[in-house]
Symmetry: D2
Subunit: 122 residues, 4 copies
């Protein structure tokens, strides 16, 4: 492949792939959101019985590494297809969200004590 | 912003954001996969009672459009952070997956009948 | 089986099953909640490309009926195990929730117009 | 309340509750499966940043205990409504599944070494 990989090109390939198989009628935003959540759960399944420490070492086993990478691809594929059918630019969406989170969750200064544990946002 | 948006830059901003808040101990692969699936479900929640037709029109309402875009950002944020902690390149993963799917699900030729309905992969 | 089936008995069998296999260390509330959500997603997967009408007919196909029933069992199994490790009575929890919902979502009287469409709670 | 709580009675109350609000058109099996998975994810969200040890202590905090119990009720409510619209008996389904799992995952005898760690089924 000579062109660099980028999201927009992958998104076009996914759209062409679905169109060649006449899958567009299935690809409603509702169905694509469900498919995205199903793939995200398949990623969770790999980790569900692991300790935090074991979860950090999943890429050391080639079979598990392949499975994790494959589920990442599936999640990204459905996210891009969802964005495509609704006309959402995922990079702009994330850029705006990071900017908002920088307002909502100011970084603690050096004087802030460790006891003020702030959990990640949800 | 003068530089173009790209995944790698957004990924670095997310990593810096988490580091400034000392969130890395929470960001195990196991926890990030769970957070990704929680955000994907928040996207599903928007669509859960909608008909397929209503689901195609969610962007017409500004409030719902904002909510959908915000959840897309959250899903992408956790996917990028998950990939970052495990050293996975999501674009390469998706490129390889599309190539495999082109083998697994050959596009039907013009002679194939509509009765051979093939559901999208799962 | 001579005794009637009830939740408490099934819960005890699940606990004995896990204990005989030394699975208790894996059965933290966090892991059981993740496993519950994974099984719920496997149920969603069966329906993800179906129209609302097709989804109402899944039990007509014996293979799909078996798959749906099996996933229902998995969801209930993890829900009961989750409740067991945390000492929650699921029937009391649901009884209290229905009572609260009867307050939060008063039933419309006969004079209320159909245009006041109220979406199910989420 | 003078009658004992049981699943069938709670299921009838949920059906009456939905019927009084004209929610049956929304309660397709597809939508109820999605709603079930959304509620299961809301349970996961409570645990997503907790260590295994912290997750075992969630009931010690009254606010968190209430939230966990409430999500358990929501998961059970949607599971019962899903079973109701499809004519599935969840207790019979689980009884059959436990019997099958006793065949698939024989309990280790006392001579089996701890090194033969068998992960819980998924």
């Amino acid at each position: 492949m000579t062109e660099p990989l980028d999201l927009a090109r992958l998104q076009r390939r996914l759209a062409a792939f679905a169109a060649a198989r006449n899958w567009q009628p299935y690809h409603t935003p509702k169905n694509l959101a469900a498919a995205l959540s199903v793939e995200a759960s398949e990623l969770v399944e790999i980790f569900q019985w692991l300790t935090p420490e074991e979860s950090a070492r999943v890429m050391a086993d080639p079979g598990t590494a392949h499975r994790v990478t494959d589920e990442v691809a599936d999640v990204l594929a459905y996210l891009l297809q969802f964005c495509d059918v609704l006309g959402i630019d995922p990079l702009t969406a994330l850029d705006a969200k990071i900017a908002r989170n920088e307002q909502r969750f100011p970084a603690p200064g050096p004087e802030d004590g460790a006891q003020d544990r702030q959990l990640p946002e949800s």
